[in-house]
Every structure is written in C-alpha cells, then in structure tokens.
Point group: C2
C-alpha cells in the first residue's frame, strides 16, 4: 500500500514536477504518455520515471503507457491531504509577496490562511486577500488556524525564534528561505531554499565550464 513505505524526498519532488508536466499535457488534450516522454520533460531517466510512478501505486500498460488523467489522480492522492493543509507565511517582504502571489489560488489543497510581519504597518492589514498578524501572535494563530506548513521569509537572525514559535503552535513543516540550519524537534520537516546559495553554485560552474 502506498503511503506506508518510506519515500525519499527527491522522489516527492520529482512527482510534484510530473504533476505540473502532466497538467500541461492534459490541457493540450493528450490522453496517454510514455515514461520516456515524461523523462525528457522532467530531465531525468526513463527508468527513474517508472520507479517513481510505481511508488505512487499506479501502473501503466506496456501498450499504452500511462493514462494522463489517472496518473494525475494517483499523484493527487499521493501528494495532497484529502481536506487540504493550511499554510502561513512569515515575513511579508519582496520575497514573501512573490511567494504569496505565486500560490494564490494555484494549489487548492494548500490554503494560505495567515501572514505575519514584524512591521506594525503591515500587520493588521489584509494583503493579497489574507490577514496579516503581528509576529508575536504566531504560536497562537498557527494553533487556532490549524496551520501545518510555514513559509519562512525572515532574515537569518530571526529565523530560529520564528521557527520555534511555529513549532510551538503545531506546525509540522517549514520552508526556510534563510541561510541557517534550523533546529527543530523530531517529526518536523524542514526544507531549505537558499537563493543566494543556488546563484553562487551557478556562478561557480559557469566560471569553471566557461573559462
């Protein structure tokens, strides 16, 4: 049964990408797809695609490949919580607003229900249709709004304290944009997304490859 086995984080990431690609195919009216087609669009090997799909509990046929609609449904079952998950965003700067607008209505199963900012100008207002609270209320609101996922867009020095407040309120997952390793209790998942780091990787290899 899918869901009981341990799934690697990389697999989950790829599956998420497959869903985006499959949605594109579906909108183009394409009904079936083969592993090597997905592998080209996703930039991974065909064997990888097949293994990933098996972990979803879905099977294709050697004759017609995978049914696009069915595969999307399998991915939905795999990735999404049946009744959705509530998301909060801490730090409504440029980055925070970009993330907020990015997810506005695009992921119905992930509802952005609260913003937090340390700036009194922002807290109390409604931004992008979501209410912004002062940062002291994090634990309280995270708990009352049943937030399970927090997007952390605050400066590095504040990140740990904010993370602690979120965890105290019951958050189970953190998407951390700050360049520090967060200390969290077991059972809380942290994904780091450091843009500066990524850019410097690109800069490094651009230099090494180019000369």
């Amino acid at each position: 049964m899918p869901g009981s086995a341990v799934v690697a984080a990389e697999t989950v990431g790829r599956v998420s990408l497959y869903r985006v690609l499959l949605s594109g195919l579906q909108q183009a009216g394409i009904k079936g797809v083969f592993s090597h087609q997905l592998s080209t669009s996703a930039g991974v090997s065909a064997a990888q695609v097949r293994r990933d799909i098996i972990t979803l509990g879905y099977s294709g046929s050697p004759q017609h490949g995978y049914d696009v609609a069915e595969l999307i449904e399998s991915i939905d079952n795999f990735l999404d919580a049946p009744d959705g998950q509530n998301v909060a965003l801490v730090g409504v700067g440029n980055l925070g607003r970009a993330v907020a607008s990015y997810f506005a209505g695009r992921r119905p199963k992930l509802r952005l229900v609260a913003l937090f900012d340390i700036d009194p100008e922002k807290s109390g207002r409604v931004i992008c249709g979501v209410r912004c609270y002062p940062q002291e209320k994090i634990t309280e609101v995270v708990r009352s709004e049943r937030v399970s996922i927090v997007i952390l867009g605050v400066p590095a020095p504040a990140a740990q304290a904010v993370a602690d407040a979120c965890v105290a309120g019951g958050a189970r997952g953190i998407l951390n944009f700050a360049p520090v390793a967060l200390r969290v209790p077991p059972g809380v998942y942290v994904e780091n997304l450091d843009m500066a780091r990524s850019l410097e990787k690109v800069a490094y290899f651009a230099r090494k490859a180019g000369g």
Copy 2:
C-alpha cells in the same frame, strides 16, 4: 591545486553557506572557529565541514581550528571570479523583483547588469537601478554586456526559448525558476529552483510526520 579537481555541486553550495555563516561570526568579532561549530550552524556533520574546507585548499590547525578571516578569503578565492561576473534577470515579475532586490549590492562580485521583460511597459525603464530591455534583445545584450549568468523568472512555456537566446549570447550558467527541464548544450550549467516543488515536499512530509 584547488580549482583543477572536480568539485561536487553540493560542496559548492555548502561552501557558499559557510561563507555566510563566517561573515556573521566575523561581524561578531570572532577570530577562530572549529569544524563542529560550523557544522552545527550549517546543519551538516563536522567531518563534512573538514572535507569541504580541504577542497578549498585551506588548512586549519588542530589547536586553534580555522582562522575566520583566512577561511573567508579562501572561500572568496574559491567561489568568486577575480574580476566578477555579470548577471542578467529575465522576467521582472514579483519573483524577479524579489531576486533583484535581494542581490542589490550584497554580492559585489556578481553584478546585475541587465533586466529583460516581455512587457513594453517595463522594458526601456530603469528598475532598481538596472536598465530593462525588451525580450527580443536578449542575445544581443547578453553578448555585449558579457553576461555569464542568467536568472530565469519567466513562465514555463517561455523558458526554453529564453534559455536558448541566452546561450546564444554566451551565457554559461542559468538559474531556472520554471518547472521544466531546460535543454542546453554541454558546458552550460543549469540549476533548477522550483518553489512549488519545494513547498509540496514540505506539505508531503508535514502530513506524513504529523498525521
């Protein structure tokens, strides 16, 4: 000699993180640091930190650990091009502006020299102190401005065409925010940074761990 050996992308990313952490220590007036201290802040093992530092060509002493200033200098030598690298940003949306403001003046060795946007309202103007060009000029401007790194903040359907134009102009590295695998010639490095994917990973593991 460092620079000649093949270095893993993960190592480069961690080294970039070390530099951020070390800068913080330096500003706090701390002169020396041990591998286990860095390892705690970076969220990796101490052995990992030591191995990474060796690849820089720097050595500490068993008595005093690593000299913060010297280590930062070694990282600078390792990561940065002596005369810097020019960066362009394509797609001046919410995300693009966030990235632009994020790097404004923070990385002196990475100069943001050009913006591109398909919207005629934006192209022609100067945004955040950088001139914005129409998207048709990418190849031309990338070449004339000697841009080696491109940040791609355009929608997925446009990403491949823009990437091709950038490569044609001589770009050697791409930071791609679009959820597609770019096809690029050998020698061009692509780093994918898909925020939706990362968030869905967090959502998945928040659900699995929490229940």
